[in-house]
Amino acid sequence: MTRTAGFAAVLAVAVASPALAESPFWGVQVEQFEYRAGEGSDLLAWDLDALAGTDALKFVWRSEGEFALDEDAFEAMENQLRLQVPVTDFFDAVVGVRADTPEGPDRLYGVIGLHGLAPQWFEVDADLFVSDRPVARFEVEYEGLITNRIVLTPSIEVDLPLRDDRAIGLGAWGPKVEIGARLGYDLVDRAISPYVGVHYERVFGATRRLARAAGEDDDAVYLVVGTRLMF
């Protein structure tokens, strides 16, 4: 009888606390944290993801920004809260919100997108930023191992306005393209990886015409120095 009771007690415990339940995890990945030196104002720029969640659902804070040192102003300041759910072995579906709060007009978008790893190890983000002036964005990054510690990371990001948003300098179907190549060294594990590189931006089409009309350059090239961080 005692034994039966013992058995029942253990069963009760087992039912109450699912054995070795999955614990949530978290982490921060700073892909870019850098000083950009170019012909115009020098910039501080960053691009980071902070995530927490489980295999089934991740909660991501994505922040990107550019701070112009001469003007003492945020040229770009973009924050997203994204929920990620796996949809295939290698891709997550994303929904969320994006708030832009740079110097000048603010913007708020809904986010739907895909995030994952394409064949041949290309890290891909494809997002549609939904509002009455929607924008599509496509980002690809590749980590090329020169050695197991020296990594060359080429990247490309294309922003495509689907409607005019003249107040913030976007013309319908006029893409903004950013191309970068960063050569880093894993100094401490993968936690601190300083890099140097180049960053090139150019606008096309209607967006380019808006820039020209405002007396701005249609392209810019920067030398960058910074570090990747992961913790």
């Binding site: 253990v10 087992a14 982490g27 072995d89 041949q120 191992l145 993968r190």
Partner: protein, 565 residues
């Protein structure tokens, strides 16, 4: 007919009968679980240890003894001890949430169970990442009767892979970035080398093949950057076991690593394997052996010269080695070999280069042909159907033909294969399995998700077994990693084609791209677990609860009790 089974059952019964008094043979043992500093020679790291020491505690028991073990938890978190490979009542098995509630901080828990077996085993925490953090020890059980081999002295050689990061941090890093610890990935220079050797087209095609799968041929050790220890000592600290020339020395190898397989050799000495996972096997003499995580192998060596010999254990991925010394006197050293170059997985390891390995294809013994005739196994015959390429080429039938992982002896000699293991004395009468359960070993490296039949432990239903049945488990490894599968509470009879002499184990390692069978006599009521013994695979979900229904009430739980602390 089932004399052996009956004798064993009687012995088990006798063990239980001794429970109340334990008059004949009873020992009480005390273990404390402590936060300690672990010094590997390369770094010092906070971790967990038993009895305040990084030198593993060795428990020496006798078959037939009734043991009482008081485990005092001095940690600030829950702990537990699982007696790896021991046959005991399920509520003494030490898995929190399955066998008992765990041991709370400050509490002393008393385990009590009869010892119904002999051999080399080990114990470890089954809570969180305490085992990778250092909570493991050895168990030596002296048999009642005479052993079928002679030796003059013995040494425990307990291996582990001590990492500077805590287990919890490693798990988090793997989830964030599955190749966080992989510092053996193929680089531009490897590519240029391949292109020079095979031509640019072939090198590109090869990269393309792996890239299209988003897999890496270097994915052999998930967690690199550790220092291997032997009995708590790093390579520079050089654990030394003494011998007198001419003596037969029994080495009890135990792999207590979180994640690392080792290829063990002792240059200048042959090793005669006499026991695997605590059970005697027909002696087989080898130059080298690969030990999976959580396995044990007992070998006998006979050093004749008055000199030191190096025990050299390279990790399977060749990222680190454990080193110890056998010597006539303290302070002696022998040459330490260079590590061999790291292996690369092949398309065969992806399960791409062959069809279904199918029944018996993995087995080196007899093989039943479709027409019912029985032919000699791959080791002797000339089988030419799919799945026998490696065996024909003299390779190990427990690796996919063409596998990059197939072990080879450094001196070109003999490596132990699962196909070589034959039980010294069968533990159970041989009979047909009553049913088969297929367990596909599955996962997703990019998400660091490890599963069985595509389902994580947390989302799974328990495996239900019925007392008295003999279940045949079919492991189909669909991943590119090697998984050491461990069933608690009952023996795993590896089907290597030896029929009644199939070896009796507690860990069955399943190489990538292979199918392996094991059978279990379901003779232990209660609830157990069945899991991959790679710590981070288990935590990621490669685990099942197993419920054995029915059976005598007397066997369903022991009379042991929790005592307050």
């Amino acid at each position: 007919m089932t004399t052996i089974a009956m004798v064993r059952a009687a012995a088990f019964g006798a063990g239980l009968a001794m429970l109340p008094g334990g008059a004949a043979m009873a020992g009480t043992y005390d273990i404390t679980v402590d936060r300690i500093a672990i010094d590997t020679g390369d770094f010092v790291k906070r971790g967990v240890g038993y009895n305040k020491s990084q030198t593993p505690t060795i428990l020496r028991w006798r078959e037939g003894e009734e043991v009482t073990i008081n485990v005092t938890n001095n940690l600030s978190e829950e702990t537990s001890i699982h007696w790896h490979g021991l046959i005991l009542p399920f509520d003494q098995d030490g898995v929190p949430g399955v066998s008992f509630e765990g041991i709370a901080p400050g509490e002393t828990f008393t385990y009590r169970f009869p010892i119904v077996q002999a051999g080399t085993y080990w114990f470890h925490s089954h809570s969180g990442f305490q085992e990778p953090d250092g909570a493991y020890g050895a168990i030596i059980i002296e048999p009642k009767g005479r052993e079928p081999f002679r030796y003059d002295r013995d040494h425990v050689v307990q291996l582990t892979d001590k990492h500077p990061h805590s287990g919890a941090r490693i798990m988090r890093n793997l989830k964030m970035m599955p190749d966080y610890y992989n510092r053996q990935q193929r680089t531009l220079f490897d590519f240029l080398g391949d292109a020079a050797e095979k031509g640019l087209g072939a090198a590109l095609a090869d990269r393309g093949d792996w890239g299209s799968m988003r897999m890496m041929p270097t994915d052999i050790e998930d967690v690199q950057g550790f220092t291997p220890l032997i009995n708590g000592k790093g390579p520079a600290q050089n654990w030394t076991g003494l011998f007198t020339p001419g003596e037969r020395v029994r080495l009890r190898f135990i792999n207590s690593s979180a994640m690392t397989y080792f290829d063990i050799r002792i240059p200048g000495l042959k090793m005669t394997v006499v026991q695997a996972d605590g059970n005697n096997v027909q002696p087989v003499t080898v130059d080298e052996l690969r030990i999976a995580v959580a396995e044990t192998y007992d070998v006998i060596v006979r050093p004749m010269e008055d000199r030191a010999y190096t025990i050299f254990a390279e990790s399977m991925g060749r990222t680190a080695y454990a080193r110890g010394t056998l010597a006539p006197r303290e302070g002696m050293e022998a040459e330490v070999p260079e590590m061999r170059s790291p292996p690369l997985l092949t398309m065969a390891d992806m399960g791409m280069a062959h069809g279904d390995m199918g029944h018996g294809a993995m087995q080196g013994g007899t093989h039943t042909m479709p027409d019912g005739s029985v032919m000699q196994g791959a080791a002797h015959g000339h089988m030419d159907h799919a799945g026998h390429g490696a065996a024909d080429a003299g390779g190990d039938p427990f690796y996919a033909p063409g596998s990059g992982l197939t072990p080879e002896a450094a001196n070109g000699g003999k490596v132990l294969s699962y196909a070589d293991l034959k039980a010294q004395k069968p533990l159970y009468a041989h009979r047909e399995a009553t049913r088969e359960i297929e367990l596909r070993l599955t996962g997703n490296m990019e998400r660091y998700l490890w599963t069985i039949n595509g389902v994580k432990h947390g989302d799974s239903e328990p495996i239900r077994l019925t007392y008295g049945e003999r279940v045949r488990f079919k492991f189909v490894n669909e991943t590119m990693m090697t998984h050491p599968m461990h069933l608690h509470g009952m023996w795993s009879i590896l089907d290597n084609g030896s029929g009644a002499w199939n070896p009796v184990k507690h860990v069955v390692s399943v190489a990538p791209g292979t199918t392996v069978y094991m059978e279990t006599e379901v003779d232990a009521p209660g609830q157990w677990v069945f899991h991959c013994h790679l710590a981070y695979h288990m935590e990621a979900g490669m685990m099942r609860k197993v419920i054995v229904e029915g059976g005598p009430a007397a066997k369903s739980a022991s009379s042991a009790a929790v005592t307050g602390g």
